[in-house]
């Protein structure tokens, strides 16, 4: 577990992350397991990140630390602009922190080159975006296999697995369809399959229901949680929706760049 410098706001945040009453059976998680290095898959230590905005430096994350266990579902709760997306981007290695370190399954992401980080990402990270972000020039099937294709690891097993996932989300008959022909809910279901088809270590979901209506939100969320649970994947989800956060095994709240804890009961 990462140690925080004294006097900083987020002292021992990871240790204080609490267990939410399990509402979904597979998400049962015991805090003492956090101390077991073999079960910690994401370890963030003292990261800070700032952006230049209209000539001014704006600090989005300040000395944030967090540890996430294997198979855990962690909700990152915060209002718009609080830094949720930035935190996920840093964990996914698509952005780099100004300071601090990020270790995923024993690999220190922050010490890798851009290319090495990209290789790591396409093998071990799955991503679901708020705006779905399907590649418009690829069909559903090509979108799903994209990370594996980029890795050059598409084989019969991978295809079978991807096809089964697509069947599971109810889009087995849309393989040759281009994204623009799909509804928002369908696009997000494809995005979820894409995030899981290459069997990543962790899945990062950034407001996956933020652009959907209530009905589609529920369906997409249910699919995402179910598929990650069944595959035993670790899920970090950014959301501002308290209802969704309450379904996580742990909740970390982001406010003014700082990660803070909140009891499940307080997530109203």
């Amino acid at each position: 577990m990462a140690r925080q410098p004294a006097g900083r706001r987020n002292e021992s945040l990871a240790a204080e992350c609490f267990v939410v009453e399990p509402r979904i059976p597979f998400l049962t998680f015991h805090p003492q397991e956090m101390n077991n290095k073999h079960n910690t898959i994401v370890s963030i230590s003292g990261i800070s990140k700032s952006f230049r905005d209209l000539g001014e430096q704006r600090e989005v994350l300040t000395d944030a630390s967090l540890e996430v266990g294997r198979g855990e579902f962690v909700a990152i709760l915060g209002s718009s602009g609080s830094g949720k997306t930035t935190l996920l981007h840093l964990i996914g290695g698509i952005d780099t922190p100004d300071s601090g370190s990020i270790v995923i399954d024993g690999t220190t992401l922050t010490s890798l080159s851009d290319t090495a980080r990209t290789h790591f990402r396409r093998r071990h990270v799955g991503m679901v975006f708020q705006l779905f972000n399907l590649i418009p020039t690829l069909t559903v099937w090509e979108n799903i296999l994209l990370p594996a294709e980029l890795e050059g690891s598409v084989d019969a097993n991978r295809r079978d697995y991807a096809a089964s996932l697509l069947e599971r989300v109810g889009l087995g008959d849309r393989t040759n369809t281009f994204p623009e022909k799909l509804s928002g809910g369908e696009q997000q279901r494809v995005a979820i399959v894409r995030a899981l088809a290459h069997e990543p270590l962790i899945v990062l979901a950034d407001e996956p229901t933020g652009n959907l209506d209530a009905q589609n939100s529920a369906r997409v969320l249910s699919i995402l949680l179910q598929l990650t649970r069944e595959a035993g994947r670790t899920l970090l989800m950014a959301t501002h929706d308290h209802e969704i956060a309450r379904q996580a095994s742990r909740v970390c709240r982001l406010h003014d760049g700082a990660l803070s804890m909140q009891p499940a009961a307080a997530v109203v």
């Binding site: 698509i94 290319t115 290789h119 590649i135 418009p136 990370p147 294709e149 980029l150």
Partner: protein, 855 residues
């Protein structure tokens, strides 16, 4: 929404899209600069020629001219004595080569007493041996033989001062004269007029050119019609009085076709620029759909949206136009050397002392720059007005709309192309209409490009997918998907490369035809002539030289040619006829004819009996046909009619030639001189030996002695020089297209930012992204190159069959080399890849998080 709000929005829009704004400005700048540059160069040459004519003609309203043998001096005396004409001045005019550098200048022989009536610059100028002692120089000029005056600028160029000796060389030999004074022009106009003159007294000039008792012409200032009638009545046969203005305008139009061709080519660059501006403005509107929708929601009218987009284009257009005018003026300075060199090679000797920027040139630049900016922004602005307040159209939908517009564009293209082809059938002599047809054909072809691009990308996508994988599938689909930008960029590049193909094929075809023509025309072994000095100057060589040449060892036969301008009264608006009288036919058998009224083997026989043959361009300009087959020429015996028995292909001059048998010429003109010699050698003789001995023989006259090979090389040197500027303009059009592709790729990259960011997030390495971008660029370049081939070949066909015929009266074979086509495709590919390098580099360095976050 007030005008201030619209202005503020326009200002912010420009501020936010600096790169696009810069590319817009560059597009207009390049187009305007080319137009202005070519215009400045052409206009400067034209003005210099006009000034030189004006300096030689002064205030004369009429001139008395004769045939090649000139006007007898006695006529001037009888005009003064018998008719009391006081406002006339005798003139001797010839080209002399001055000093060790043999700088070609015009020798003007004058009568200083009569001169003040006609040429004010000399009377008004101070002519002093030393400044302040005026009049002394003019006295010496009249009193002392072999004395001359020059302007200060000429003296500086020659590095001489009063008292110095000057060596003048004519085709008749070398003569030393003394510079007795410097003319200090009274004004700038006089300075320009005097900048290429050597002024001598009439008797000195007659001695220098070897024509005692003969004048080149008599200049007259006439206001009384009766006096004119009296003069006409007193003239001997073969001498006429004519208004100088008509002569001047007919001479000035000599190079019109050449300069018009250059201007048309420069206009092409602007059309490519037009595409770019359209591309930039379209993208700008697509990018701001949401913002425009919001503006409409809060009360902006369609008119205000329209005005906002046009204002934006106008602001950038003004910047591009102003910069284009400045750059164009500088470019004109670079181009003027090449333009004047070619005009001097092909038409008349001209020296440009100062660049001319006329208000017409400025107006052309402003009109085309602003016009192109607004015209190109018109469709995007109209599209912007169609955005409704409730519009939720995404970029993809807009692209879908642009795909359906590609169908409409293709159909429109077919109609426009057809109209262009039909237009070639009308007004068979109008060059402007020919260019109109050419532009319609080009525009029509280019309008079909977006649909063709869509089809090609559809065809190559499965193949690339199998060969390269995911990236191979993405690239053609991305190009097809962003058709509103890629289509226009490929169209602009196709247009540019098709110009390269068209002009290259035309030049190669022309060169090939000239090669074949020279094989037939250059049947002699050695040629002797005066250095090239343009169409308007006559070289007088002593025919006795033929006897001396005949005596050189190895020479079997010497033929002579007399090359003189003569007047054809039936064509007063056209320049004088270029008559060539030959002592024997050099190429009767090998010459190719357009038509013949007698069997080919009897042509020379018919010519010896008084018939003439003319070149294709001569016949074209004068409407000569098997039915219209006589030419009236002013001879020393008056106007005589000559039957035309054939029209032959000839590529020596676009003004055309009349070929006459030498005995027939001598019968009609009392002209003792010849202009050039052709030597035939005995079979065992090497031409190099004869060339060497002939050079020794004619060393004093400064004549050119060339073997067939050397003459052929010289012909092609002039040929290539004439097309140098065309080649340069062609390359500049390619540069404009390069900027277009760059701008389109930048726009495409901006458009694809989120997709590319997502792909990076999903595991695409920066190297793969770099390859993807270059693959897209390469595909666009390859497609543009392939599309450019049929368009370019069609362009070449029209340049050969329509433009060249109308501009120069030449027809030539259509010769295509596969190498040049391959080269064109490679140019397009290279231009696209080079243009893609920067966007690819930017994309490769894109932080995925930033790309996604910006969305």
């Amino acid at each position: 929404m007030t005008g201030a709000v619209v202005s503020r929005l326009v200002y912010r829009a420009l501020q936010r899209r600096v790169l696009q704004s810069v590319l817009f400005v560059i597009s207009i700048l390049a187009g305007v600069a080319l137009i202005v540059g070519v215009d400045v160069a052409a206009e400067s040459a034209r003005r210099a020629f006009s000034l030189s004519l004006a300096s030689l003609q002064g205030d004369a309203t009429h001139e008395i001219v004769g045939g090649p043998s000139g006007v007898p001096s006695s006529l001037y005396r009888s005009l003064r004595a018998d008719l009391g004409i006081r406002t006339g001045a005798p003139v001797i005019q010839d080209t002399v080569r001055v000093g060790a550098a043999e700088i070609p200048l015009t020798l003007l022989g004058i009568d200083p007493f009569a001169e003040a009536q006609v040429r004010q610059y000399l009377a008004g100028a101070s002519t002093a041996t030393v400044p302040g002692v005026e009049g002394q120089a003019l006295l010496r000029l009249m009193a002392e033989p072999d004395t001359v005056l020059v302007a200060q600028s000429v003296a500086a160029r020659l590095g001489v001062e009063p008292g110095d000796q000057l060596a003048l060389r004519t085709a008749r030999g070398r003569r030393n004269v003394t510079l007795v004074g410097i003319i200090h022009p009274a004004n700038e106009l006089s300075a320009q007029a005097l900048a290429s003159l050597v002024v001598a007294d009439i008797s000195t000039a007659q001695e220098i050119v070897g024509s005692p008792g003969v004048l080149t012409r008599i200049d007259l200032v006439l206001t009384d019609a009766q006096v004119l009638a009296d003069i006409q009545g007193s003239l001997p046969p073969g001498v006429v009085v004519r208004p100088v203005e008509s002569n001047r305008s007919s001479l000035e139009q000599l190079s019109d076709s050449f300069t018009l061709n250059l201007q048309a080519l420069s206009l092409l660059a602007l059309i490519v620029g037009l595409f770019l501006v359209y591309n930039i403005m379209s993208f700008s509107v697509v990018q701001r759909r949401t913002q425009i929708g919001m503006l409409r929601a809060i009360g902006a009218t369609r008119r205000q949206v329209f005005a906002g987009i046009l204002l934006e284009a106008l602001v950038l257009g003004v910047a591009g136009t102003l910069l284009g005018l400045a750059v164009g003026y500088v470019l004109g300075g670079f181009l003027v050397g090449a333009v004047t060199r070619t005009i001097s090679d092909l038409y008349y000797r001209v020296e440009v002392q100062a660049l001319t920027l006329t208000s017409l040139t400025i107006a052309k630049g402003v009109f085309t720059g602003l016009g192109a900016s607004l015209a190109a922004a018109l469709i995007p602005a109209l599209n912007a007005t169609r955005i409704t307040p409730a519009s939720t159209l995404r970029s993809a939908d807009a692209e879908q709309a642009s795909r359906s517009r590609a169908d409409v564009a293709a159909v429109t293209g077919i109609v426009v192309l057809g109209a262009g082809l039909v237009l070639t059938q009308f007004q068979a002599q109008s060059l402007l209409l020919g260019f109109g047809a050419l532009f319609l054909v080009l525009m029509g072809s280019v309008l079909m490009t977006p649909l063709a691009l869509l089809l090609v990308m559809h065809l190559v996508q499965p193949f690339l997918g199998r060969a390269i994988g995911t990236l191979g599938r993405i690239a053609p689909r991305a190009i097809a998907r962003s058709l509103s930008r890629t289509g226009v960029a490929v169209a602009a590049l196709s247009l540019s490369v098709s110009v390269i193909v068209g002009v290259s094929v035309m030049i190669a075809s022309f060169r090939g035809t000239v090669t074949t023509w020279l094989d037939g025309a250059l049947t002699a072994d050695v040629f002797i002539s005066a250095p090239a000095s343009g169409l308007l100057e006559t070289v007088n060589l002593d025919p006795e030289l033929a006897v001396q040449l005949q005596n050189l060892p190895g020479v079997s036969q010497v033929l002579t040619a007399r090359d003189v301008p003569v007047l054809a009264p039936d064509y007063p608006g056209l320049p004088p006829v270029n008559l060539v009288a030959v002592s024997d036919d050099l190429a009767e058998r090998s010459r190719r004819y357009l038509w013949l009224a007698v069997p080919q083997e009897e042509v020379w026989e018919a010519m010896q009996a008084g018939a003439i043959i003319v070149t294709e361009s001569f016949a074209y300009r004068r409407g000569i046909s098997p039915e219209v087959n006589t030419l009236n020429v002013l001879t020393d015996n008056g106007v005589r009619s000559f039957p035309i028995v054939g029209v032959y292909y000839h590529y020596g001059t676009d003004q055309g030639i009349v070929l006459m048998a030498d005995p027939v010429y001598r019968e009609h003109f009392a002209d003792p001189w010849v202009s050039s010699f052709a030597l035939f050698l005995t079979p065992e003789t090497q031409s190099a030996h004869v060339v060497e001995s002939a050079r020794r023989l004619v060393a004093d006259q400064g004549l050119n002695v060339q073997s067939t090979g050397e003459l052929r090389t010289q012909v092609f040197t002039i040929f290539d020089r004439a097309f140098n500027i065309t080649a340069a303009l062609r390359s500049l059009a390619a540069v404009v297209a390069f900027i277009g592709v760059l701008s389109a790729l930048m726009a495409l990259q901006l458009d694809q930012k989120r997709t590319l960011g997502t792909m990076r997030a999903l595991g695409l390495t920066s190297g793969q992204l770099w390859r993807l971008t270059l693959l897209e660029t390469g595909l666009m370049g390859l497609a543009a190159g392939l599309f450019a081939l049929p368009i370019g070949l069609l362009l070449a066909k029209m340049l050969i069959d329509v433009i060249n015929v109308r501009a120069f009266g030449w027809t030539f074979s259509f010769l295509v080399s596969p190498g040049s086509l391959l080269q064109a495709v490679l140019i397009a590919l290279t231009a696209a890849l080079l243009a893609g390098a920067y966007p690819a580099w930017r994309v490769a360095h894109l932080t995925p998080a930033e790309a996604i976050r910006n969305e």
